[in-house]
Amino acid sequence: MSRTDWEVVIGLEVHTQLNTRSKIFSGASTAFGAEPNAQACAVDIALPGVLPVLNRGAVERAIRFGLAIGAAVAPKSVFARKNYFYPDLPKGYQISQYELPVVVGGQITLMVPDGKGGHYEKVVNLTRAHLEEDAGKSLHEDFHGMTGIDLNRAGTPLLEIVSEPEMRSSSEAVAYAKALHALVRWIDICDGNMQEGSFRCDANVSVRPRGQTGFGTRREIKNLNSFRFLQQAIDYEAQWQIELIEDGGTVQQATVLFDPDSGETRAMRSKEDAHDYRYFPDPDLLPLVIDADWIARVKGEMPELPGALSARFQSEHGLSAYDAATLTASREVAQFYLDAVAAAGVANAKTCANWVMGELAARLNKAELDIGTSPVSAAQLAGLVARIADNTISNAIAKKIFEALWNKEGESADAIIEAQGLKQVTDTGAIEAIIDEVLAANQKSVDEYRAGKEKAFNALVGQCMKASRGKANPAQVNELLKKKLG
């Protein structure tokens, strides 16, 4: 059997840390990086007699997410206790939502790279999203023969977002994770900091012969905290399962860990020793009731969503689906683009989009800067785009001006054009003069062109542009050169 006979099936469970100031059931701070246990109050360390009180800010963020994915926000959801013993779980149970989660259904649209330089659109349905508290951390380093416990993270609010098993490749899984990552930051419910564990993925992976409707047995890869690891882990795991089956083996349901150093997954526990969590409704917390008014209030405070904005970019600005999706990857990028279009005019939207996604993105990436701290402002970029549009400068000169703006050599494209004399030459007479000079000095290329070598023409155009120090209008050079060469 060959590799192509297999289909990979992936579902993701993503733990997003909600960006509330205090914890989900206590008043302790959620700030990252404090001294161990400095941010663990009586409730977090589960002293006898303490009780949880739900943080409404966490609920509000869950509502925001539900609205953003077009899901149903449950009018009544229930917190349950998930019971198991672990030193970094002080109560001996985690408060989570089990049978009745706060968010049900919904979907996310993503653009997936097709491996041929293009992209295709995919809609992934979500099963649910539920609120829960994070556990603390067990620290095994620095404690010889012992384990340290840091409960600062205990009680941090999480929204666990569960997708349907609808991804069919690691690329789709990564595209989904990235879209989700972008969305939670867009609606400002999670800082998305993957290094600090604010966005962690568990991937359920199974394989089946293409065409089979039933699912294969899945293994769950826990705690993937980068998109690269997500891709690597899924690819390894899928291949491992395929090889196992092809060698006559059977996949056993298990929880596995991905080792980034070896690039391999290995089983942590099998189904046999899976915990019986003995879920039951937490009697310390009343059912979470969310009325229509609350939802309406949250809805009123929501920013325009990336999907709606992307649709608007396509219909109003004439952008492609891919460009629109790229420009709505984050609120900052979208806002920059919108500001540029507002200044440059809708007619120049596509040029603005090209610059934001092209030169600007590349330059920011190289300098490791966010668009929010871009040295070139949206207004400056719009000024540049306007000069390209009205033929004042060529694209080549525009790149130079962009560089000058980046380096703060001038206030605006106009100022730099003026100061550096970069105005495009469109005067036919002046261009003809340049062409005449070039033709006289490059008889060899002229002969070659006349002998049928097309490439020689491009060389001559290049010489003309060079002679004009890039200022000659390239289209005019082309046209006039052709005429002169007969």
Binding site: P48, V50, N83, D276, R278
Partner: protein
């Protein structure tokens, strides 16, 4: 002076006939002399009491005293007290000192009450006899070979022995009413959510409710008023204004409709209890009340439902006692799991282990629906029965316990027999209703018999009013056990 009513003690304090320090000293001296006979106290806080008493005297002098200022009181050792150890009757917490006060403790401290110590209890409030305490059984002051009831047996015995005039307790399945009955004092458990559970070590969260012990309904009304009120730290705390339960004590009982549940008066209670209960009901009729038969057809299911729900919640609530952060940790262990097993095996007593095992079982995969969900359905049926009954009556009267205090060791070998002693009280917790027990006479062995009055939600004031009127024409509550 400690034998007097709170009203009289407060008047004496106000008139400078006695000081709070003198009262505290008297209470501490009585504890020293009498506690060895009853073992009602686990911890006595002499210094803290005297400090609090001095502060109370200053308040009295400044004219800012309230009705409880300077009154000695004891807390059941289930309430966390900052700086004074809180054991919950368990070896697990034998050396635990809470860094914070329970809400109830804070309220009573603010009211100026003087805490003299912490009272003995069944371990983690699991029991009906106080025999399940790591600190030895509490004895009934009426007959020290008998049990005081449980789980708030220490508080009930401390009040009955006149060591303190008032004490706090908690009631999950009868743990205030049954010891009040067996010890011949008055005890009230209010509507679930009236008293904050913050800082009250949880046994079964959906059933646990704090309450008050005193010599009389009048004293219980004062204590309950001071310890009730909304607490935002307890999500199940009711968002109601604080109520003055003393306000309606003097209302005449003419027209009060007393419901008598057929099922509670059928076979099951001993003859001496029946005689006392019947006599008490006759007394209510004399006071102008009418009686009407009501039915609680599902009440017989209360014990099985309770022994699913309470252990289920307990099995989870007690998971935090793992030896990791506080509490008992085994001296020797080979690994993490071994540490958990040994610490919990050593730290918990038999009844606690039994309930953790039962609770773990009923919540397990494959059994949850058959036990836990079923029990929750029964719970709803039982609550509905009460609502139907309250269509016909204002309060429900019943026995508290099928018998008077039983002998120490008599039932401790048979958990089911022990569980059945709560047959009249448990349904009330499942429904979340308020109920009290007041002295109604004496049965065999000259041991006290109590009468239970059950009210509809928020009916505490009516219950206390009824009991107070009863206590105006009877003196059962004024009887003091010989030698105390």
């Amino acid at each position: 002076m400690i034998d007097s009513s709170l009203k009289d003690i407060a008047a004496a304090l106000r008139d400078r006939k006695v000081s709070a320090v003198e009262l505290a000293t008297e209470s501490l001296a009585r504890i020293e002399a009498r506690n060895p006979k009853v073992n009602a106290f686990v911890t006595v806080d002499r210094e803290g009491a005297l400090t609090a008493a001095r502060a109370a005297d200053q308040r009295i002098a400044a004219g800012t005293a309230g009705p409880l200022t300077g009154i000695p009181l004891a807390h059941k050792d289930v309430f966390c007290t900052e700086g004074v150890r809180t054991t919950c009757g368990s070896k697990m917490l034998a050396n635990f000192v809470s860094p914070y006060d329970a809400h109830v403790v804070t309220l009573l401290r603010q009211a100026g009450a003087v805490m003299v110590g912490k009272t003995n209890m069944d371990e983690f409030a699991m029991g009906s006899s106080n025999e399940n305490s790591h600190f030895g059984p509490t004895r009934n002051p009426w007959h020290t070979d008998t049990v005081p009831g449980g789980s708030s047996g220490g508080s009930a015995a401390a009040v009955a022995a006149r060591l303190v005039p008032i004490a706090t307790g908690t009631d999950t399945g009868g743990s205030i009413r049954q010891p009040a009955s067996l010890c011949g004092i008055t005890g009230i458990k209010p509507t679930y959510g009236t008293v904050s559970r913050y800082g009250m070590i949880a046994y079964a969260s959906s059933l646990d409710q704090g309450g008050a012990f005193g010599y009389s309904a009048e004293d219980c009304a004062l204590l309950l008023s001071a310890m009730s009120g909304h607490d935002p730290r307890d999500s199940t705390s009711l968002e109601r204004d604080t109520e003055d339960y003393s306000a309606a004590l003097d209302k005449p009982l003419a027209g009060l409709r007393v419901g008598l549940p057929t099922e509670f008066f059928a076979a099951g209670m001993s003859d001496d209890v029946r005689a006392a209960v019947d006599a008490a009901i006759a007394e209510y009729r004399k006071l102008g009340a009418t009686t009407v038969e009501v039915s609680l057809p599902n009440a017989r299911l209360a014990i099985p439902a309770y022994y699913v729900i309470a252990p289920a919640e307990a099995s989870s609530n007690l998971s935090r006692f793992d030896g990791v952060r506080y509490g008992h940790r085994a001296a020797d262990y080979s690994d993490l799991n071994d540490m958990y097993c040994k610490s919990r095996a050593q730290g918990f007593g038999d009844e606690v282990k039994r309930r953790i095992l039962v609770g773990t079982y009923v919540l397990s995969h494959g059994y949850y629906d058959a036990y836990y969900i079923k029990a929750q359905k029964l719970r709803r049926l039982i609550a509905n029965d009460f609502q139907a009954a309250f269509q016909k009556c204002d309060v429900i009267a019943s026995p508290v316990s099928p018998s008077v205090a039983f002998g120490i060791g008599e039932k401790s070998g048979d958990p089911v027999q022990m569980y059945l002693s709560d047959i009249y009280t448990i349904a009330v917790n499942l429904a979340g209703l308020p109920a009290l027990s007041h002295p109604a006479g004496f049965g065999s062995g000259d041991l006290p018999v109590g009468l239970q009055l059950i009210g509809n939600y928020f009916g505490e004031a009516r219950l206390l009013n009824a009991a107070h009127q009863f206590q105006q024409v009877t003196d059962w509550h004024a009887r003091v056990p010989a030698g105390f």
